[in-house]
């Protein structure tokens, strides 16, 4: 201020003024939240950690699934038809077998030694493996070799080959599944991964919102802020700002996860999986709004970061309960527990996507669940907003909800 001549040169008129509509105020606040978080090393590090965690779990799935079902078998000097027979048998045992023919035994041996193939069948009567023969693969090769040998002997004995055509079984389902089993399984897998992601992001961003609220109270910047903005605008700006960041992370993870899963052939029905992901995104938007508002209100009740965890505990427990209920619902999607909890706001965010993916849900059930969720958001934003506004100016220890509701509020 030593250069007051400097300030004197400022023109007094505030021609730079713009009309401060609520949406403008909210977007200014949201913008600050986003920019601040993007510069916060702690936030970036945690975000990367979560993305790596989710990607890691997808890669883990890839390894497990690919290790179990894909086998490669080498053949040399094999009787005609063995290649097809091995593939047929492997298919019965749930293996996805690839058969490669080699010119001679030494080439097949080299392939086994180089671990390019799991087993090599020599001359249709011996098997070469690196360490030991996998039981299932052994059974498949055994069945193929013996079946082929048996058929050839019968033909040699003059039996009509048509007799050897297998009888086709007529399968009658007493309770036909709505979808193809594979599709249901994949939808369930995607739904589980998605709600795990949902849970992680809700807890993670809920914490960040609550910390941001406490920061403003602890540093007392709140008095300067509330002189210019309304409490609900502050609340909305925070939720939208962090919501944009959370959504960006979620989309990034989903795109990478889905892309990876399709590329690695974990998912063979991408259409269904994408539909599930889109559905989870929708639930995320609703769930995030509600959970973020609840976390912000909890944060407003305390004035120090040290006191934050104790007020957040009930909220965190509800989210854990939602995750557990969602996993339970995956095993029994049409049980009464799953049905009831899929309508309870917060819980429904995680239970309903699982029910939709694994069970049969009528459209009106989804509509009702969404409607209840929207209603809960309205109620929380109204009442929670009052508590938030009442508690913001409270000092010292912990503000009681009752006192916050009764407290004078800035308009």
């Amino acid at each position: 201020m030593s250069g007051s001549d400097r300030t004197a040169s400022l023109s007094y008129d505030r021609t730079g003024d713009v009309r401060m509509s609520s949406s403008r105020v909210v977007s200014l606040i949201a913008r600050r939240e986003i920019l601040t978080r993007l510069k916060d090393k702690g936030f970036i590090a945690s975000s990367i950690f979560i993305i790596v965690l989710i990607m890691g779990s997808v890669v883990f799935q890839v390894l497990i699934q690919s290790g179990a079902s894909n086998v490669t078998v080498g053949l040399t000097g094999a009787p005609q038809g063995l290649s097809a027979a091995i593939q047929e048998q492997a298919d019965i045992f749930g293996l996805d077998a690839e058969v490669i023919e080699y010119d001679d035994e030494s080439a097949a041996r080299a392939a086994v030694q180089g671990e390019e193939i799991d087993a090599a069948v020599i001359d249709g009567n011996s098997v070469l493996v690196s360490e030991s023969l996998d039981d299932t693969l052994g059974a498949a090769i055994n069945g193929a070799v013996n079946g082929l040998a048996l058929a050839r002997r019968l033909v040699d004995e003059g039996v009509d080959p048509t007799i050897l055509q297998p009888v086709s079984l007529d399968v009658t389902a007493l309770q036909p599944a709505a979808d193809d089993a594979e599709e249901v399984g994949e939808k369930a897998l995607v739904a589980f991964v998605s709600i795990l992601l949902l849970y992680t992001l809700l807890i993670f961003f809920g914490q960040f919102i609550a910390q941001g609220v406490v920061e403003e109270k602890a540093s007392r910047v709140i008095e300067v802020l509330l002189a210019a903005v309304r409490p609900w605008q502050l609340l909305a700006g925070k939720i939208i700002g962090l919501g944009v960041l959370a959504l960006a992370q979620l989309v990034l993870i989903c795109a990478a996860g889905l892309g990876g899963a399709i590329a690695f052939d974990i998912l063979t029905v991408p259409g269904a999986a994408i539909a599930t992901v889109v559905q989870v995104l929708g639930w995320f938007l609703l769930g995030f709004t509600l959970v973020a508002a609840l976390f912000a209100v909890c944060g407003a009740l305390v004035s120090r970061q040290e006191d934050l965890q104790s007020v957040l505990l009930p909220m965190t427990l509800i989210l854990v309960a939602a995750l557990v209920l969602a996993i339970t619902a995956g095993q029994n999607p049409d049980g009464s527990l799953a049905r009831v909890t899929s309508f309870v706001p917060v819980l429904s965010t995680m239970v309903m996507p699982i029910r939709v993916a694994t069970g049969s849900v009528a459209w009106w059930e989804i509509a009702l669940s969404v409607a209840l969720m929207v209603l809960a958001i309205v109620v929380v934003v109204r009442i929670g907003g009052r508590i938030y506004a009442g508690a913001l100016l409270g000092k010292g220890g912990r503000v009681k909800i009752k006192d916050a509701l009764a407290a004078e509020r800035v308009s």
Partner: protein, 296 residues
């Protein structure tokens, strides 16, 4: 005109404000004084919408202060607070924009203020990296950055070194010259006396004295006579039936008259007692007026 009209406020049985009314004219520097806990901060917080009055209202240009008006007010709260980890310039720009400035004007204003405070080189530093004194300057800048039409500053001078005090005083004087009314509270009465053209003294929940410093003096004008007779023990004054001696020391006698028009009689008696070196009505300092007003 910034008008405080009949503000009442109590917390439970504790009455904090009881009919607080005063006016700050455009271009006026109004010093708001009172003992600790007198209700100065509460009055200012009511004006800023941070507390609600039980009765009465605060108006700016005849309009009750709402959020829209409040955006044109620069406010410095008693409890200082900004974002500790946010860079200084970014922070000032943010507050300027929340108060309605567009982004270019906000940047320009923030840069000018920081340069003026000698903090131009620190503008990219996080607030918490600055010394407390400099943080205090940034807090002031946050109140000034939106070029407000009105200034309400709670103890703006506390924590500033003499250079800082002078710089802030110059800055406020310059804004005042553009017609901005400035209301500030302070415990430093010598400062208030030096800077303000109007003073309000809050005691017992109400304004016990208000007006320009000259008006207050006027009110106190004929209260105490000061007579200096070197070498006298003041005995002469105690014998006057119509005067009450407040003090008599080293030849200096301070006395009050039941009837101020009898001052010439006192002069005659003094001249009879010895050689009068000085005689006149005393100009009370603000500190004395303050003590007087608060004690009443």
């Amino acid at each position: 005109m910034l008008e405080f009209d009949g503000l009442r406020k109590s917390y439970g049985a504790n009455v904090v404000l009881d009919e607080v009314s005063f006016t700050v004219a455009p271009g006026q520097m109004y010093g708001f004084c009172g003992s600790n806990g007198a209700g100065k901060t509460t009055t200012m917080r009511i004006a800023m919408g941070l507390a609600r009055a039980d009765a009465g209202e605060v108006r700016w240009q005849q309009r009750p202060i709402d959020l829209e008006v409040r955006r044109r007010i620069g406010y410095m709260p008693e409890e200082r607070g900004l974002y500790p980890k946010m860079p200084v310039a970014e922070q000032l720009e943010y507050f300027a924009r929340l108060h309605g400035m567009n982004s270019a004007a906000a940047r320009c204003s923030a840069t000018d203020l920081l340069d003026g405070m000698g903090l131009g080189k620190r503008s990219k530093d996080a607030l918490e990296k600055l010394s407390l004194g400099n943080q205090q300057r940034v807090q002031l800048a946050a109140a000034l950055v939106s070029n407000p039409d009105v200034l309400i500053l709670d103890e703006p001078f506390s924590g500033l070194d003499p250079t800082g005090v002078d710089a802030l005083a110059a800055n406020l004087a310059e804004r005042r010259s553009r017609g901005v009314p400035v209301l500030f509270s302070s415990h430093q009465l010598d400062l208030v006396e030096r800077l303000c053209d109007a003073v309000g003294i809050l005691a017992g929940g109400t304004i016990v004295a208000s007006g320009t410093v000259a008006q207050l003096r006027e009110r106190e004008a004929n209260r105490q006579l000061r007579v200096v007779i070197p070498g006298s023990d003041g005995h002469w004054a105690r014998e006057l039936g119509y005067a009450h001696v407040d003090s008599a020391q080293d030849g200096v006698v301070l006395l009050q008259l039941d009837d101020p028009s009898r001052d010439q009689d006192v002069l005659s008696a003094a001249m009879a007692a010895g050689s009068v070196a000085q005689f006149g009505w005393r100009q009370p300092t603000l500190v004395e007026m303050f003590r007087e007003a608060v004690a009443a």
